[in-house]
Structure formats: C-alpha cells, structure tokens
C-alpha cells in the first residue's frame, strides 16, 4: 500500500486502519514486520516492503565472519593435546599414519587428525604355568649313574613299547613369568591383531620347545639357566619376526618342579639322599668309636702282660731268694735242717687233715672202715671250702 504523500496530514501508521480503513489486517504487512525484526537481530538492515532489496554486504559479511572466526578459534583450541611423559601418541590424518609424537604439548587438526595415546613405559606382566613334556628318558639318564639292576617293571606308555628303545616320557611342571612393554606404538596398534595374546601364545610355544629338548633331571636341576635363556632368545626372535611392537623386558623362570601327582615320590628321592648320607655318617661314627676303644683294649692287654711278666719274675726272685737263704743254712748243718723241715711240714699236714691210723699188718683180714661215720665233719664233696679250722683234730685210732 502506498505511503501517504507528505502533506496529506493523514495518519501514517500502517497498523491503524485510519478512518478510511475498515478492512482486515494486512498479512503482508505483518510478515514483513516479522522479517524486519529478525533482520534487526542479525544486524541486517531491514528491507523495504517494495520488494527485493539487495542486502547490504558489510553487515551480512560481518555477522558471518564473526561466526566463522568464533568457530575457527574453538577448533584451534580444541586441537591442543598433551602427551604424558610415559606415553607416545600415534597420529593419523584421514586414517593414514603420519607421525609418532613424543611427550609434550602438541597440536593436531581436530576431525581431520586422530591420536591414540600409548603408554610405552608401563611394564606388562603375565605368568604361564603348565605341564610340559620333556625329552624322553632312558635308564642311563638317572643322575649319579645309579644303575638299577632290574629294569623298571612298570608299563611304559603305549607308544614306547613299539618304539623298542624303552624310552620313557616325562612331564615337568613349570611356571614362567614374562615382563614386556610396548616399544613401537605404531606397530603395536596396526601391525598385529591382538598383540597381547600373541606374546602369550609365542611364549608357550618357546617354553614347550625348550623343555622338549631337555631331559627331566636336567630341567629340575642344572638346566634352569639354559632353559631361561633359550626361552628368552626364541621369544625375542619370533616377536621380532612378527613385528608386534612389543619388547621383552624380563623372562623369569619362577618354578620348575615335578608334577603334583608325582611330587611326593620326587621329594622322597631327596630324603633318600639324606638317608644315604646319614647311614654313612653313622657308620663312620661307629668306626671312630670302635677303633680307638680297641686300641685302648690292646694297650691294656699289653700292660697286663707286662705286669704278669714282672710279677712272675719278681715272684721267681722272691722264691729263689727264700730258697737260697734256706740253702745256705742247709749247707751249714744239713741234717738238722732237713729234720726240722720235715717235722715242720709233717706237723702242719697232720694238724690240718683228718687222719685214720691203722696199726695192722698188711696181710691181715679185710678191714671195714666206715670213714664217713667215724669222722662226722667229713663231707663227701672234694671242693668244699676249707673254712673250718678246728682246734680238735679228729683222730681215730684203730687198733686190732
């Protein structure tokens, strides 16, 4: 609707119907007013209602520019990120690998580039436990060359019989601990699917391999170091060939022992060892006791003999001295001495013994002599002790 021409003096208010207007509100007017309000908000200049007005380029541009600038600043700020001291960041642009970033502050283009943080210093660890087959054993493999005179009477497992060499399988229980870390983040993320389970499987393989080459008793005793280094070598080699991006930090053989089911028997071998040593020690103790005792006894026997020798000699000398003294006297007066000696002796004899005097001729009748009745103190036993020294001599005189 046309503006009132200036000078008309009529009310220019478009809303007011004026005196002349009695019709409904003008829709066009309403909509253009709404648009104008909107444009004011966006700092556009309102357009006239006569139709298209070309928008003023400055206002339009300023608004748009301010918006774009704000978004850009936000985008730039969002692109900063920090890589912690233990980490590295793998950066992909549109999915393609561009770089590995070291610790520090970095910037990337958000939505275009992506980063994955990988901890390259943390040491991961896992343990592997299981029973492994060792090299088959033969009779001569028992340590210390103890040869058992009879072949084992057990049934070897089915396979060995047909083998004909009588080799026997053995199992050993091993616990191994592996420590590793990520050394190449790019390879770790994008080279091998599931690298963590890969390293576990490779370890099992390396362990099985190494143990399979060794005999049971070696594994249990002297071969632990070799086992450890063999597993480590193979592990490194295989992992390197796969390029997993993982690096072995440590390989530790935690435990090597006989399987649970036979542990008791194996422990008994140790006890048998100790028993053996004990038996020998006891025997040596016996020897070191008995031999000196014997020597002591020998010395005593010798001393006894020497004592006897001395005694016999001294006795002889004493006897001889006595004899010689008497001999000298005898030489001076033989008859008297002889008589005296004889009488003394006879007196002593007859004093101490029981006597029966028989004053008969030899050719007379048979004489009955009940000696036991006549001499009451006479005892039949010859070995009776002669403790009784009686003053009285039992003398029976028989005269016929």
């Amino acid at each position: 609707m046309a503006w009132n021409k200036p000078g008309d003096g009529e009310d220019p208010n478009p809303w007011g119907g004026g005196k002349n207007n009695a019709g409904p509100p003008d829709l066009d007017k309403i909509f253009s007013q709404i648009f104008n309000k909107l444009r004011q908000l966006l700092r556009f200049k309102p357009v006239t209602t006569t139709g298209w007005q070309r928008p003023e380029s400055q206002g339009y541009g300023v608004g748009l520019g301010m918006c774009a600038l704000a978004i850009f600043v936000l985008w730039v700020l969002a692109g900063f990120y920090i890589v912690n001291p233990a980490e590295q960041a793998v950066v992909l642009r549109w999915g393609k690998f561009t770089a590995v970033q070291n610790p520090g502050l970095h910037w990337m283009a958000r939505f275009i580039e992506t980063k994955t943080l990988v901890d390259v210093q943390k040491v991961y660890s896992f343990s592997l436990t299981g029973e492994f087959l060792t090299k088959s054993s033969e009779q001569s493999d028992l340590p210390n060359q103890i040869s058992i005179s009879n072949k084992p009477s057990v049934t070897s497992n089915a396979g060995a019989i047909a083998d004909g060499t009588d080799k026997s399988k053995n199992l050993v229980n091993v616990e191994l601990n592996i420590q590793y870390r990520i050394s190449d983040p790019r390879a770790y993320l994008y080279n091998v699917a599931n690298p963590d389970s890969t390293i576990q499987d490779v370890t099992a393989g390396a362990l099985s391999d190494a143990i399979g080459k060794m005999k049971l008793d070696d594994v249990l005793t002297v071969g632990r170091e070799w086992l450890n280094s063999s597993v480590e070598d193979q592990l490194r080699q295989v992992l390197a060939s796969y390029n997993t991006g993982l690096e072995i930090v440590a390989v530790t053989l935690r435990r090597v022992q006989a399987p649970d089911q036979v542990r008791a028997a194996f422990n008994d071998v140790n006890r048998a060892d100790q028993d053996r040593a004990t038996y020998i020690q006891q025997a040596q103790a016996y020897a070191s006791k008995v031999v000196p005792l014997a020597r002591g006894e020998a010395a005593r026997i010798s001393a006894d003999a020497t004592g006897y020798q001395q005694k016999v000699m001294l006795t002889a000398q004493a006897d001889v001295a006595k004899f010689e003294a008497l001999l000298n006297v005898y030489k001076v007066s033989p008859d008297v001495t002889r008589e005296r000696m004889f009488m003394d002796a006879m007196q002593t004899i007859l004093q101490n013994t029981s006597k029966v005097l028989v004053d008969l001729n030899a050719s007379s009748n048979l004489l009955y002599l009940p000696i036991e009745k006549m001499i009451p103190s006479l005892k039949p036993s010859a070995s009776f002790p002669m403790a009784t020294s009686q003053e009285q001599t039992n003398t029976v005189e028989v005269q016929s």
Partner: protein, 306 residues
C-alpha cells in the same frame, strides 16, 4: 519470504550431506574395496580391483559401498574345545595345540571367496588344512623325535607346507608354532605312574647304596678292631712267655745249685700245700720217719742208734 531462498538453503544442506557421503577414510591396519552396483571398482592402471589404502578417499555417494578389511597379522589358534589329536609313527597319541599367523594377501580374492569374513577363513580354509599338515608331519616321526630330537626340522617342514595354503583365497600363512604338546588323559596317568615308580626305585637304590657303604665302613672298622686285638694278644702272649721263661731261668739257675735239696724242699712245700684241711683224709700206718718215736721203745733205740 522467498521460496527461492528456501530452496537454495535446502539444496545447500542436501549438497553438504551428499558430499559427506562421497568421502571415506581408511584407518591404519585396514584396507578396503569399493563395490559399485555389485562389482568391484577397478584400478585405473591395471585390470585388478583397486585397493584403498589408509587415508582419505572419494566415492560416488550412496551408490558405492565400502568393504573394509583388517589387514593386520591375524592368528588362528586351536581351541581347547576341539583339540587336535595326532598319532605318531609308533602309534602314540599326542594332543597338539598350535597357532598360525596369517595375513590377507589379496583383497579381491579374499572377498570373493570368503565374503570378507576373517573367522570363516580361519575355520574353513586354514584350520582343516593346517591340521592335516600337522598330522602328517607327526605321523612321520616317533613321539621322541617329534617332541625333542627332530622338532626343529618338523616345525620347518610344517611351516614350509603351510605357506602354500590359502593362495586361492588371498591368504598368506606367515608362521605356524606349536604351543603345547600334551598326552591324552589316560596316557598321562600311566606316565605319572611310571615316573613315580622310577623315582621310588631310585630312592630305594640310594638308600641301599647308603646302607652298603655303611656296612663297608663298619666291617672295615670291625676288622681293624679284630686285628688290633689279635696283635695285642699275640704280643701279650709273647711278653708273658718271656716272663715265664725268665722266671724259669731264675728258678732253674737257683735250684740247680743243689738239686737234691731242692727236691726235698719242694716236696715238703708240696705236701703241706696239698693236705691242708679237714676234708683230706689220711689213712696212715704209724710207720716212717714221722713215726720214728711213735712206738714205745723206738725212741730209746733210735737214740741208742745215734
């Protein structure tokens, strides 16, 4: 307002939307094929389909479909649910666990034969064939050779044969490793029994050896004791004999000065010592020197004789 502007605005949104679908990224560790109306998009240089490497690529929006494949090294592991049992040359049963490392080599072949499914590839192609190879190689060797002496050669043979698998399916096998060899359950039990008995015998042998050595030492000691004692007795006897001899010499020397007197002297001593208690009975005739003066008239006559 102006419908034109609205139309333009809407059109702009649609264009943005469509063009976003016209780009796609492939991440590291993946490759992709693009299918256009069911057929693979070909490389402009050669006749084979184009492989889309990691990075940003363009395609026809909505018409082209992108199939992404994991091109990292994959692993096939025998599961504990379906263990692989092999028989060795001497008819021993072993239970073998292994894993195989493989990679997609030819994307186009892989897609057409496997439908792009990694697990399907593992189950239908790799596992049966590698199982066969492993069985065959174990069958050629005794269990001792397979586990110990010939193991390296066997692994090399398995690996060599395995690398030929999967070429038609666009797969390449990179490695096969035996993880674990175990025995079937019943065989395990008999192995344990045998091990146990072996150790028991060993323990017995040790103890027996100990007792044997112990006996040796003791016997040696006893022998020494016997020798020492016998020696001592022998020497003692010699000393005693020496003493006896010396005494006898002394006696002989002294007594031979007057043998008659010695006889008399010694006889007297012997008589006194022999008849010395009441239990000795002398039945005597009153005759002899002792009874010289016993009879009534003898002492007179004896004195007269003197």
């Amino acid at each position: 307002m102006t419908p034109t502007k609205m139309l333009i605005a809407t059109l702009a949104i649609v264009v943005v939307f469509v063009s976003m679908n016209g780009f796609f990224t492939i991440e590291e560790g993946e490759n992709a094929l693009v299918l256009r109306l069911g057929k693979m998009v070909g490389s402009t240089k050669t006749d084979s389909p184009r492989i889309y490497r990691p990075g940003l690529h363009a395609k026809i929006p909505f018409v082209d479909q992108v199939r992404v494949f994991d091109t990292r090294m994959q692993q096939l592991t025998t599961s504990t649910l379906k263990p692989l049992t092999v028989v060795t040359k001497e008819q021993t049963y072993l239970v073998v666990e292994y894993f195989a490392k493989w990679r997609i080599d030819n994307l186009a072949k892989f897609y057409t034969s496997m439908g792009g499914s990694v697990s399907r590839a593992a189950d239908t192609v790799l596992e049966p064939r590698i199982n066969d190879i492993v069985r065959t190689e174990y069958g050629k060797r005794t269990s001792d050779q397979a586990i110990s002496t010939d193991r390296a050669n066997m692994m090399a043979a398995i690996k060599a044969q395995a690398t030929h698998i999967g070429k038609e399916q666009g797969i390449v096998v990179l490695d096969v490793q035996i993880q674990q060899i175990t025995l079937p359950k019943d065989v395990m039990d008999s192995v344990f029994k045998r091990m146990e008995t072996e150790r028991k015998q060993f323990a017995e042998a040790k103890r027996a050896e100990g007792m044997e050595k112990s006996e040796e030492v003791r016997a040696l000691a006893d022998q020494k004791v016997t020798v020492i004692r016998a020696e001592a007795i022998k020497q003692a006897a010699a000393i005693r004999a020496q003493g006896d001899k010396q005494a006898a010499e002394i006696y002989a020397h002294a007594y031979s000065a007057d043998p008659h007197f010695y006889a008399f002297y010694r006889s007297m001593e012997a008589y006194v010592k022999s008849f010395r208690n009441k239990h000795d009975v002398l039945v005597l005739k009153p005759e002899g020197q002792f009874f010289n003066y016993f009879h009534t008239d003898s002492h007179m006559s004896a004195a007269a004789k003197k």
